[in-house]
Subunit: 471 residues, 2 copies
């Protein structure tokens, strides 16, 4: 029996796709990476996943786990050898249960993030992970990449939202680790080893997730600032004055918001006069367990004090949910406005908050010196030190010029990130995109430890080869 | 040059203790475990730690990392072969720096927990880890055992409080992983692998810790309850109504508090009549970012609604910090009162909150059936599902009878913990105490993964042998 027949015997012929049928799985959604697989296999149960992995282990076939295929680093795309088996988890999409007394839910890897948020909300709870791809990304992919998003400041990354895992090992065994416990000190933390390992150590098939209370009210404020330092000072004030009610703190360069209102005339900045033309803005979100009135009152106190102290130049506190949404919409429209002006070079980096100003000003200057006229598109989650530090072609640049300097820009920016103790991948992972630059920035001892772990858990090297670590 | 001379040449003769000088390090503080070491070595820098480990690796000598030696499971005590080197981290006790803009601090492993709390407070920040041994335990030990304590409900275990690590590997290399980043998705999570590994994979020499804002006010309430189910219902109400301001939720059996007031007549229950004689009590702590008045008002609303709904029978909300302290003091005195009535058998377990009542009632009944008259001493952190489920000898039992049934009691309780999806070690770790029962309760796939990781990172098996995993 050849490999395809064996796979068909394991999951059913209808769930083994080849040739043209496999094409959508062989490329990432942005079509930056393209590979060729022996087949796409779509198991329906954890036992079927284990059987497929055992079969691949026996045959020495690479296994490429894939969720919603919304990643940004090519982590779920095979190479072009045609030998790999793409293991789609999409059919493992059940919410197995919600335990409101324990504030946990058990979900399969193929559940779409939005459906998990929805199931939690229907049970009167919040599952806080929230990111742009939530309508199609899956929990398995969120776990494999330790996804972040807009609520990390308060609730943490996917790692902090997860209590237990079910994992198929590289040998095709099932680790039943679906514990719903907040305290469990019985040995090595395998859960966090699999989370963020991008499918290179095993296949996550299900997880026990933490739930939080639904906030009673949310309120948003937009602040005009004259510097990054003022943003950092305001972050400190907001943390002290709002405590854990502070659920979002986004920083945006003024030109980003001006691009938004230029591209999308139905949107507008809620400021006039000089406040509409400041170099920086911050968007704050407060989630309150009392009332909308209390949320607004807290904002008024904390923002009012900051204005009096000269930290904030001007501020708008949303008067309604509709106005809150409109303010968030400005922030969420930045990537769309960015796209309107052509391709850009994107950096998903994190920086210690205390070195943010030094990083931005120094890197801006270095880029202008090397590539005069290049445009900066800078926004991000200041509360987490996570910056989307992007650059676009200058107004008078020819179409291809930006692409031509892409590698040099990456290196300049990443070198500066490294110099201030930052990370070259804050929330998107490594995949294929950053695999080869990783050793440039990682401690060699850390690289060696990672290789030891990879060899220990996947000695055959069949799990998502060529991702995170080079062969 | 023999091994002792080589050690003396590495750290200085004064920092190598042998014979009677080494005795205090060769036994744990409760004197349950006793071993014999070749020497106690007290390096003063990370490089000296690395040199000692390299020397031990070359000579094949076991390395036993030790912090404050306050552990409860024998995790820092050598065997009696006389070959092991106890590596005391106590001289690595500097706070290397505090970054208030980034809300982080960098500390060495030998810092005493209380001094870290103090340094954070002096910088206007909170380092929330808090536990009984805080005056002598060290950050290195807290990391090695992933310490918990009373603030986990809001702030998490040591794991959630740590951003970066500096580690000496089993080969004597230094991993410089002291990152102060909240988002960093560049490869495997080595940090969390070393945290909680009890010195069996390497030696943690320093850490970057997360800081939080200091609460403006704290308030405490004591509630009288007629059942565990009522406690769980109240926990849900407190989570929804107080949000992240809820920083403590302790459950105590009525007999525990009655023992406290009997043993320590200067303490008193703030209830009279039937409220002073309820089967269960809950102690709630609220940390507020506004004011004491606001904290009390929130408690009044949430507890008032619970009384109206019949969930809570009676309640006292502290009117002052002194009264808050007095209420906490009742809770903290339970272990002392327990000790007054002789030795007890202690279980540090965690249970899904939703199965807490089933576990307690079922286990109480099974223990009474097997050991008629045995006394239950039950209290713990209900918010984390962490119960100190202890038992003491019955009123008419002879002195030795409890000890005689100790192993049978452990097994009965741990089997029941396992049956409801709990953990046999919530916050104390495994050490020697629970090493041999671990395979009874752990998935064999998980045990095999742990052995693979141990072999990968410490192939010689020199790092704290005989702890967590059997040889």
């Amino acid at each position: 029996m050849d490999h395809l027949d064996a796979l068909r015997a394991t999951v059913g012929a209808a769930q083994v796709l080849t040739g043209a049928d496999a094409l959508p799985w062989e490329t990432d959604w942005r079509e930056r990476y393209r590979g060729r697989a022996l087949a796409v296999v779509r198991p329906g149960t954890t036992d079927e996943v284990a059987a497929v992995v055992r079969l691949c282990a026996q045959a020495g076939l690479p296994v490429i786990p894939q969720g919603g295929n919304t990643g940004l680093c090519g982590g779920a795309t095979p190479d072009d050898s045609g030998r790999a088996v793409i293991l789609s988890l999409q059919r493992l999409n059940r919410v197995r249960g919600i335990d409101t007394d324990n504030d946990t839910m058990e979900v399969e890897a193929g559940c779409v993030l939005q459906s998990v948020q929805q199931a939690a909300r229907e049970a009167g709870r919040l599952f806080p992970l929230s990111l742009a791809a939530e309508g199609s990304c899956t929990i398995g992919g969120n776990l494999a990449t330790n996804a972040g998003g807009t609520q990390v400041l308060r609730y943490g990354n996917m790692r902090e939202l997860t209590l237990g895992l079910e994992v198929v090992t590289a040998q095709g065994d099932v680790w039943h680790g679906l514990r719903g416990l907040r305290k469990d000190n019985t040995g090595y933390d395998l859960r966090d080893l699999f989370i963020g390992s991008e499918g290179t150590l095993g296949v996550i098939t299900a997880a026990t997730l933490k739930l939080h209370p639904l906030p009673v009210a949310r309120c948003t404020a937009l602040l005009a600032l004259d510097s990054i330092e003022a943003g950092i000072a305001m972050l400190g004030r907001a943390r002290a004055g709002l405590g854990a009610s502070l659920t979002g703190f986004e920083l945006m360069a003024g030109n980003c918001l001006q691009d938004v209102v230029r591209c999308f005339p139905q949107q507008r900045l809620p400021f006039e006069g000089p406040s509409a033309d400041r170099p920086w803005y911050a968007l704050l979100e407060l989630s309150d367990s009392e009332s909308e009135a209390h949320a607004r009152e807290r904002f008024e106190v904390v923002v009012g004090e900051a204005i009096e102290a000269g930290v904030v130049l001007d501020a708008v506190i949303a008067e309604s949910m509709a106005q809150s949404h409109a303010l968030w919409h400005l922030r969420e429209s930045i990537p769309l406005a960015e796209k309107e002006s052509g391709k850009s070079i994107k950096h998903d980096v994190s920086i210690p908050v205390s070195r943010m100003a030094e990083f931005v000003l120094g890197t801006n200057a270095a880029l202008q010196a090397a590539f005069p006229g290049i445009r900066h598109v800078i926004f991000g989650h200041l509360g987490d030190g996570n910056l989307h530090y992007n650059v676009a072609r200058g107004p008078d640049w020819a179409e291809g010029r930006l692409l031509a300097c892409q590698d040099a820009v990456y290196e300049l920016v990443h070198d500066r990130v490294h110099a201030v103790g930052g990370s070259i991948s804050a929330e998107h992972g490594v995949g294929q995109l950053k695999r080869d630059v990783l050793p440039r920035y990682k401690d060699p001892v850390e690289m060696a430890l990672m290789h030891r772990i990879k060899a220990a858990l996947d000695p055959q090297g069949i799990m998502n080869p060529g991702k995170v670590l080079a062969g």
